[in-house]
């Protein structure tokens, strides 16, 4: 009775308030170095994220959507906050496992809480003022967080020195893109005097050159913010050298905020798509091609696991851009595009988190980041090896896994188009663009799958040991190449494997129209 009474009174801001509360509460323990206090603060933060996630979904279920001058909370925002909170819970796990011995652990957790709080405010922001301010605060918090995660007191060697240089360079690019957003907002303000993207569509000045210049600068800033090719240097170099947990912060807190800014701009984008869909489609297809080819070639070329994952992460963004190109071509509607973007992010997260959990443990054991470390991994670590292979296959888009569902729903509208092309009255330009879309999708998916197979082959390989090989040292010391994963890690990896398998099989059954009557909803209903 009391609980239902409380749940009836909740407000969309409650989940953000909870995160802020957890951050402020942790401040009182900021200087403590005692392990029980560290564990206590971690539990408080985890509870805040979990309860925030529950409140966020509950808010939407009971219909507490709202929109005012500064903020907007609807289905899109609910989904974005849910993804961020779920991933934050996972990142908290990684940060705790890898950094609990550090003296500044509680400071890291405090800044992490503020980062997630900043992200939730940014997602809900509606007005240019709130969008810009919360994004700037979010980037600042992310910078503080990553610099704290990479801080080990005074610089002791060249590696630490270069990591800090790469960190500065990375955030200089972020600051640069933020300043471009500021310049874009100033032009939009000058051309329309409106204060939010939703108001812009009502303006007659939407076709003015000044407005178009402002929108172009903002899209360019998103391009820089996401480190899309050929501007990926700072990102790739940082992910190779920084602390293990910071890589996840970059992938799953920093990058999604760029995608969310893109989604905030989508109504304006759709307006221009309706007017100039031919040229915009070419632009989107080119970006998708750059991401697919650049990311995959980069992953093939390197022997560093972190770089492979960093390149593949960029490559996975090509699916997002393909969804936008599909919308521009008129074969994917607005809602399906949103869902493809969310699903791609969610599936990337679901696969990357456990894969990274395995690889980070391997890296910790050998002390270096090399693909040689995982040679023959499956033979020595059977249970984790099988899980790892399954997770990689899922990420690669194997039929019956969650990665396949996204690829299916990208390809399905294209196949439908070619089936009905004789009935549709489409221009020859559109037909040519559609062929390019097919080629890019095929290159993207096949190349991606080839990269994944390359990793799996190495995991299964029984390579001969060379003198000086780290695994040879292992054999001499009697460790036999086996890595002792903690029970927590094994539970974590198994949980995700089961979740991905479950989602994949359910999705596949829904695609082939078999109703098992297990649920009263369909996970593919939104497609």
């Amino acid at each position: 009775m009391i609980i239902s009474g409380i749940l009836d009174k909740i407000h969309p801001f409650n989940s953000s308030a909870l995160l802020l509360g957890a951050a402020l509460f942790s401040v009182f323990f900021g200087l403590s170095r005692k392990k029980p206090v560290k564990i206590f603060i971690t539990i408080i933060s985890a509870l805040a994220f979990a309860y925030g996630l529950f409140l966020n979904i509950q808010n939407y279920v009971i219909g507490r959507v709202f929109s005012n001058y500064l903020f907007n909370y609807d289905f899109l925002q609910m989904m974005q906050i849910s993804i961020i909170l779920f991933i934050s819970l996972n990142i908290l796990f990684f940060i705790s496992v890898n950094n609990i011995e550090k003296n500044n652990f509680i400071k890291i957790i405090i800044i992490f809480n503020f980062t997630v709080f900043g992200s939730s405010l940014y997602i809900m922001s509606n007005n240019f003022l709130m969008i810009f301010t919360s994004l700037a605060v979010f980037i600042t918090c992310t910078f503080q967080l990553i610099s704290l995660l990479n801080s080990n007191g005074n610089i002791k060697n060249v590696d630490e020195y270069s990591t800090r240089n790469h960190l500065i360079r990375y955030f200089l690019v972020s600051a640069f893109s933020l300043l471009l957003i500021l310049a874009g907002f100033s032009l939009i303000f000058g051309s329309t005097d409106f204060k939010s993207f939703s108001q812009i569509l009502e303006s007659e000045k939407i076709d003015s050159a000044l407005f178009k210049a402002g929108v172009f600068i903002i899209f360019a800033s998103i391009y820089f913010y996401l480190f899309i090719f050929p501007f990926q240097g700072a990102y790739i170099k940082l992910t190779k050298r920084c602390d293990i947990s910071s890589v996840l912060v970059i992938w799953f807190l920093y990058f999604p905020s760029g995608l969310f800014l893109f989604l905030k701009l989508k109504s304006t984008l759709f307006y221009f798509i309706e007017k100039n869909n031919f040229y915009l489609t070419i632009v989107f297809l080119t970006i998708a091609f750059l991401l697919a080819v650049g990311g995959n070639i980069g992953a093939v070329k390197t022997t560093s696991i972190r770089r492979i994952l960093a390149f593949l992460f960029l490559s996975s963004l090509s699916i997002t851009i393909l969804a936008v190109a599909g919308h521009s071509l008129g074969i994917i509607d607005d809602k399906r595009m949103d869902w493809l973007i969310f699903s791609n992010l969610a599936v990337t997260g679901l696969c990357y988190l456990p894969i990274f959990a395995v690889f980070s443990e391997v890296e910790k054991k050998y002390g270096i980041d090399s693909i040689e470390n995982i040679k023959g991994f499956a033979e020595k670590n059977k249970f984790v090896g099988i899980n790892l292979i399954f997770l990689l296959l899922s990420f690669g888009g194997l039929i019956g896994t969650s990665g396949y569902i996204i690829r299916f729903f990208i390809l399905k509208p294209i196949i439908d188009y070619f089936r009905n092309v004789s009935l549709l009255k489409t221009s020859s330009y559109n037909f040519i663009l559609m062929i390019f879309a097919v080629i890019i999708a095929a290159v993207s998916f096949i190349f991606f799958a080839a990269n994944i197979i390359r990793i799996i082959v190495i995991v299964l390989k029984k390579g001969e040991l060379k003198t000086g090989d780290l695994r040879e040292t292992d054999l001499k010391t009697g460790k036999n190449g086996k890595i002792n994963f903690s029970k927590l890690h094994i539970v974590y990896i198994t949980f995700y494997s089961i979740l991905i398998l479950f989602l994949g099989i359910t999705g596949l059954l829904e695609i082939i129209n078999i109703d098992i009557g297990f649920f009263n909803f369909r996970i593919t209903a939104f497609f």
């Binding site: 800090r164 500065i168 600051a175 300043l179 471009l180 500021l182 907002f185 100033s186 005097d193 990926q232």
Partner: protein, 116 residues
Amino acid sequence: MNIQYISYISFALFLLGLFGASYCRSFLSIIVSFQFLILSSLINFLSFALFLYQSLAWDKTFIIFAFISVYILLFSIVFYNNSRQTHIYELDVLRDFRLFKPDKSDWWGDDKIDDN
């Protein structure tokens, strides 16, 4: 002075900032280029408010909040850079922070011997 000339000046500053940020290699030069970008946006906001939307208070509010948040970010980066000085001129001042380097090492993220 009319809005047209002010816009030209603002655009020139924007281009200067853009060029500096993408071409300069030293930390200080990049930060100075960022100031040109900020200045250009500030001129845009104030000139549009002065000539077109005089009754609005929104632009002033935006300028205050946006600029505070941007400078907090820039201050954090500058402070972090300053806190890790080695007192070796070549390392502290002559480091290459170019945001976008058109070379092979930067494209693939490979490590170079002098890459520190």
